[in-house]
Subunit: 374 residues, 4 copies
């Protein structure tokens, strides 16, 4: 693991996710850019002193040399390091599991995608919300035509933790780097949660927009990056969409919600209530689907506990680690990845996300002029 | 009453609304443009044969002459007749209660507003959703600063009854006129329900946007008017907003929903569940407000049945009739309108709605270019 | 109308309900036992001075003599007067619409039922919750076998307005008479809301229990009547049930909820959200039924406003007045009551409610021993 | 681990729960009474061949002898084996983590409790629902007096998977043993899920009833044990309660719901939506509490992922394993158990559950006569 030392947010979640299905063991880490914190964090996590690296470059080099070197690295640093770290590990032939967004520029992301292909290594991107069983079932319903032709896609992701300038005080390390263009890249809220919303919408609808008209906004004075984004979408098949992401939406905790309307039916999903998926036929009554009330290979593959017993974010995250393990196993054995792992987000999804970021930035800079998504 | 004969949709609702508080009596009508249907409809409703008019012009003339002539006319025709009918009645000094949208063009609407002012007659516009007690309470909360400075306004109005070309068969009279530019005006879904959404957002937030970037769309082949509209909004205080209205959103019945986020708290209202209003402080727990759990003069004024006993659309509509009665009474007596009736939508709200329609049409025609709302 | 003067609770609701469908006119009243309040209340309601009675006996006598005498009387007094007032009006041949509970003893109730039959007059009992369209639809679903054989019935009615001794202060007139055995009869919470719960359960399930094991309780010190009742039920077909009613359930407003489980499916209804009815098949997904998403003669008959537009308590109440009007019209014309009015609660439902009260009182007095409901 | 081989239900959940916090390692097992299945199951789980026992007696003996013997055993067998297995391991000084119900008779349970005390070993009982952060917060609220004096406790646990005689076919092994008195003990639904409901109610309210009036029922013909239980409760402080558990409630998945009403406020929790807890003050608005919106040491201790990110059943189960680990660590070191682990269910909770079962069986046999809970 690179990043994820004491005080970090997402590293612990990655480690928990990896444990759920018992397919990975944490044996080495460059957990912090601060050497002492790196060492202490490693100790706490039971990593041997010889594999507690102060520097990720060194870690890549050393692990590649060891006979018992790591199979895969989990990258949980701030955004600006995703690409350099991933590059270092890909270069030495180590599989990568990387947090989103993929990189801080489209160029960087495309280079990574090229490298991963050349090195024939896995590059999994942890768009965790695609790991929920009912999100996967939603995708299946769309694929199977249950919604008819898709007409409307609505996705939103609202939080309120940045409604005030919490980064100013310095105490909130999460806020500090996420609002700092040097570490977060040129997109603030857009990169942090907008990309999740974008991926979820694409994942379920099976479509990516071909044009966007968007507006970024910064509500909190002195903040350098956007904390609010609103966008209109056009899809190749004529569908229309809206995307909204905000980190200043007072009262919202982690309100990622998707609705997809087709000619025959619509779907609604709310990640804060991930054990239900709403399906409503045109002119019909809303139905509350749950894992126990559907029959779905993809949902089953993402199931850990019996029907009626709620799953949560940890299992969704674990699903990505499981799919990654299945693919790594297959790659290492020279087999094609197993079918049930096919929904894992990859470096290509990351590139798509960066393409969206770039288009939104450009459209917003051009006062909302529609921009093509190449 | 003008319009609202057999087979009409909204006329019966107006009549019910007028009965709830017992402030009006239906004594005359030009209920249909078809003379026989007009007569039969009048008979059914207990209107005397001498006051069952075949023509609204004649009705205005005749009623103005009678000593026991009507105090007010309710206009429930298709949109294109709103302005001519209202003009006719205002001209002869009769108060007007008119369905929305006010008219089929901004010009027409502004002329009406001018006329109403000159004639010193009431011009009430039935933006019914502003009649719900909890919508009025929401407005009060905003006015009282409970939300802090408003940052984000989200409003949407989704239906699915026009998801297929139901107007083509001819059997659906409602669909027929609402998708016919000669009767509905240049805006389809935008005029029919988009204006409701727009009014509700303005009513609660206490703000009107100063610019809009919008896109109209027609999903159903052969339809002449838009059946879908999506728009981004900018407000004078820097707030941002989104408005969505669709009549092809499979599964949606009458899903008008508003969310307003301020620096301190947010509000959410769903007209399909009008007996609850959600208030969530920044960083706080969502609270489900009900009539019985708030203390609000405006909500009380809109209350008909005891707390815990649901109210519905009929009472919201009745509220407009009650407020209209209170204002007519005051105007006729030369008194200022009573304070509790102040929230009644008027011809000026109608003009604002037409201004919005015009700007959306223009922005959409200009590929989403931002347009000022004068 | 007898009762319902200034400061009363339910009288205004009855009057509103009667206006909704415009089938009744309020022309006479003995609105209060206090002569001055009776007169003032009548004035306020537009009742002529000659028909503003200070005494209901006099009203019955006088109205029976008038050629334009009332067709029906609405009785909205405290419970102990229901039977004497109803008797007086039935005796002189006037139809009765009476609030629940029917009377303060089973004996009294049975005498009333006998009298109503002899006099061949309507005796409608305002078990208002059976007037909701979706409650009627629920009954239809059960009748049509959609649930299979009924196995379990759960009904509860929780409020919190009597959680403290509000009757002690004297200011709360509603609390005062409802907790006073001389006016409310021997059952407090049981008679006031328990009977509503019991009727709703019977109405929807189409079954009445044949035995009950119950316990009354009074939580508030000094209160003379029960404020809490819990009971187990057995039905003739082997079904089991539970009934709970409480007026000290902190946080509950007017939470009347019914669930019925059959071998094939279950239903759930919550009167605080009366525009939805939940139907879930065994092993299936919950479906949210609304007026606009069902096809039901009985629900349609109880519909006042278009689908997607919420109805409330007023329309449910109005439904009873409409059904009463239809039956009175038919009775007066010597015709059988029209089929669509068949769901109106009658004096026999009132007798069933009193039988339940009697059995609960007896079981509770016998430390919960099972008591047959004759 | 004893039990939990191939085809078992709860064993995999225990193993997942143990992995979440990484405090246990699975190194030995008697996973099935069938030797071949035991061996195959062990292989699948990575247990060494030498510690894959065919018999739990042998496992207890052998593990006690090994220097690297297990610290604790997880017992996930059918009910009738809980006591014998636990006894065997306690006797040789191994800590026990046991599924519920504790045993098949009160006598057996009391003996176990005595033994555990004598041996000074941990006996954790996996009443998993007490592991949810918001359940723990609910208990804290009650303890802190936020509800005032408790007046009413309502708990219910409804499922529908036994609505038909699925045990008859033989294919459903879960149904087979759970409806077989030789393996499940004398209580069917009552023992299987009724005890969970009972524990949850006690856990949150901090009270145990002193008397019960109950009725067991078997709806499915030919079934030997109850599949439905309904009961009235009396508490020492005068509070009243109702408990309902059913496995034939068509449409219910795993609907464990608790409501507690005090003089000042009420709480509601639904295990199918475990990321919210409803708190409503008397006369106040309902508040939706979430992990991110409360400040609670106990909820924090049960938190695994960031606020706004749902937790589920796995984390609740893991919480018991974490608390068990903390207590085992302390016991082995001769320290008192750490305060934060205090909410772990123990053998005494199991005894309380058996006492409840016994009283319900007795009351039901006596036609609902109230029975004291000693």
């Amino acid at each position: 693991m690179v990043g994820g030392g004491q005080g970090a947010f997402i590293g612990a979640v990655h480690r928990l996710a990896a444990r759920v299905d018992d397919r990975f063991e944490l044996v080495a880490g460059a957990l912090s850019s601060d050497p002492q914190r790196a060492r202490e964090s490693a100790l706490e996590l039971g990593i041997g002193i010889d594999r507690a690296y102060a520097d990720w470059r060194e870690m890549a080099r050393a692990e590649a040399m060891r006979e018992d070197g790591i199979d895969a690295v989990a990258i949980v640093t701030p955004n600006h390091l995703h690409a350099p770290v991933a590059t270092a590990f890909l270069e030495v032939g180590i599989h990568v599991i990387c947090d989103k967004p993929l990189a801080v520029s489209l160029e960087e992301g495309e280079a990574l995608a090229k490298l991963a292909r050349e090195k024939r290594k896995l590059f999994a991107l942890t768009h965790v919300y695609s790991g929920y069983p009912l999100v996967r079932h939603a995708r299946t319903l769309v694929e199977d035509g249950a919604l008819g032709e898709i007409r409307i896609v609505h996705v939103e992701y609202a939080q309120d933790w940045l409604a005030e300038p919490v980064e100013a005080a310095g105490a909130n390390r999460q806020a500090a780097w996420r609002t700092d263009p040097r570490r977060a890249g040129p997109a603030g809220c857009l990169g942090d949660i907008g990309t999740h919303a974008y991926h979820l919408a694409s994942f379920v609808s099976g479509m990516m927009p071909n044009a966007v008209s968007a507006e970024l906004h910064t509500f909190v004075q002195g903040r350098q990056l956007d904390d609010h984004v609103q966008a209109l979408l056009r899809y190749p098949n004529g569908a229309r969409g809206m995307l909204w992401a905000s980190q200043v939406a007072s009262g919202a905790e982690n309100a990622l919600r998707l609705r997809v309307y087709g000619t025959e039916a619509s779907l609604a999903f709310d990640q804060e209530m991930p054990n239900e998926l709403w399906l409503t036929m045109r002119g019909g009554a809303a139905q509350r689907l749950t894992r126990g009330r559907i029959d779905s290979v993809d949902a089953l593959h993402a199931t850990r506990v019996p029907a009626g017993h709620p799953q949560g974010y940890a299992e969704a995250f674990a699903q990505l680690y499981l799919d990654a393990a299945l693919q790594i196993e297959a790659m290492d054995a020279g087999r094609p990845p197993p079918a049930e792992s096919r929904l894992l987000a990859t470096v290509d999804d990351g590139v798509a996300g960066l393409r969206f970021i770039e288009a939104v930035l450009a459209s917003s800079a051009a006062d909302g002029r529609w921009r093509d998504l190449r």
